[in-house]
């Protein structure tokens, strides 16, 4: 588990240092799939961070902001500290540094972003939706990324997930079964 976490974290650091915005998104997408399969919340956090860094990196008003270099340096420092904590078998240091990186992402988005809803919160919902599309239940998907269930449900509603899942029992048949149940208990 720690080895996989370390690998994803290392890749995220490399891509962020190298300014590889597309690479960050790829890492995030891959990490959330792995996290969903193994119910790994720490890996889900790495996915969220990588996705937010990708989004920040792709926005001109962010990378041209006077404070961006300083913020970027701070986030990198936190991520490297987390990597050292993980490698050295110090989970406390890892968790603390990841939490600090998340705080930096949140505060910089509040300072430079254009939306009331924080980028990190949006990432939680987006990736919970990915976990749901992969087969997890709604609650489990929300819990994995810390997304709000109502936000997640609304987000899923405007995706094509339900149109892709082939339903074998349609509305009319479910309605018939419900009416039978109303008429006389379980059939």
């Amino acid at each position: 588990m720690a080895k996989r976490l370390s690998s994803f974290l290392g890749k995220t650091i490399g891509a962020f240092e190298g300014g590889d915005s597309f690479g960050l998104r790829e890492i995030a997408n891959h990490a959330i799939e792995e996290a969903a399969l193994s119910n790994d919340r720490q890996l889900a956090e790495i996915a969220l961070i990588a996705y937010c860094l990708h989004k920040m990196h792709s926005k001109q008003h962010v990378v041209r902001h006077a404070r961006w270099r300083r913020i970027r340096k701070g986030i990198l420092l936190d991520l490297k500290k987390a990597e050292r904590g993980l490698g050295g078998g110090r989970p406390g240091e890892f968790e603390k540094s990841i939490a600090s990186a998340i705080r930096s992402v949140r505060s910089s988005d509040e300072m430079m972003g254009n939306y009331a809803q924080n980028l990190f919160e949006k990432a939680r919902v987006k990736y919970a939706s990915t976990a749901y599309s992969l087969g997890l239940g709604l609650g489990q998907a929300a819990e994995l990324t810390g997304a709000d269930k109502k936000e997640l449900l609304r987000y899923i509603g405007v995706t094509k997930i339900a149109d892709r899942d082939v339903e074998l029992v349609g509305i009319a048949e479910r309605l018939r079964k419900l009416k039978r149940a109303i008429a006389g208990g379980r059939q």
């Binding site: 239940g137 109502k150 509603g157 109303i182």
Partner: protein, 222 residues
């Protein structure tokens, strides 16, 4: 009859501003509507403190205060453990169990068992497929993950057997029933357009139903 509501169905109906139809449905169906305690916390207790979600939470709270719903707890934890043990140990990847369901869905299922409920109202598709057709869920997971997902057929059968005969409905079926009972007409102008609009509103609020399914249903009614 008893109908247990998962948070997904409750939230979708409330988000479409159609929660009032549930009061009429309860009466017409001569049913008792139950909300698990965890669902109550998720849909009312926590969101009522958050400005963005407050309105929806108030709507649901009002429905509870009016007696349309009863908040229920699992009295015998064995039911919860049984459901969780099977639901989260049916699918495997590389020999490791995939955790599919969380406390809210598990509690809803445990209450169905404990209270011998006849129906489950749920808008998310994983729990529904796990009950009705685990092989289909396996196929979806395999296709999306592009990996071999194995299934413990015995556990899946046992799980499905616990809910044999259970009527699993989504908010779209509740809306369709409300339409048939004439209850939808109390909320919206009478006529097919209102039904169509309400069904699609539920879909866009997160109900796991495809546009095709809705269109087939509406076509059959014409």
């Amino acid at each position: 009859m008893k109908v247990v509501f998962d948070s997904s169905a409750l939230i979708s109906v409330s988000q479409t501003c159609l929660i009032n139809i549930l009061g009429g449905l309860k009466e017409k169906m001569n049913a008792e509507f139950l909300i698990p305690q965890v669902v109550f916390n998720e849909a009312v207790q926590r969101p009522i403190e958050i400005k963005r979600f407050e309105l929806n939470a108030i709507r649901i709270k009002k429905a509870i205060d009016q007696g349309w719903f009863r908040v229920a707890k699992v009295e015998d934890k064995t039911f919860f453990d049984e459901v969780e043990g099977l639901a989260n140990n049916c699918f495997f990847i590389n020999g490791n169990a995939v955790r599919l369901l969380q406390a809210g869905e598990i509690e809803a299922l445990a209450i169905i068992r404990e209270q011998k409920a006849e129906a489950l109202a749920i808008d998310e598709r994983t729990t529904r497929m796990l009950i009705e057709n685990p092989k289909q869920l396996q196929a979806i997971m395999q296709a999306r993950k592009n990996r071999q997902i194995s299934i413990d057929a015995k556990k899946a059968r046992l799980f499905g057997g616990m809910f044999q005969g259970l009527s699993v409905v989504r908010s779209v079926e509740l809306i369709a029933l409300a339409h048939e009972f004439g209850i939808l007409g109390e909320e919206l102008p009478k006529g097919p357009q209102s039904l169509e609009a309400a069904l699609f509103a539920a879909k866009y609020s997160g109900c796991a139903v495809s546009s095709r399914e809705i269109n087939i249903f509406l076509h059959g009614k014409r």
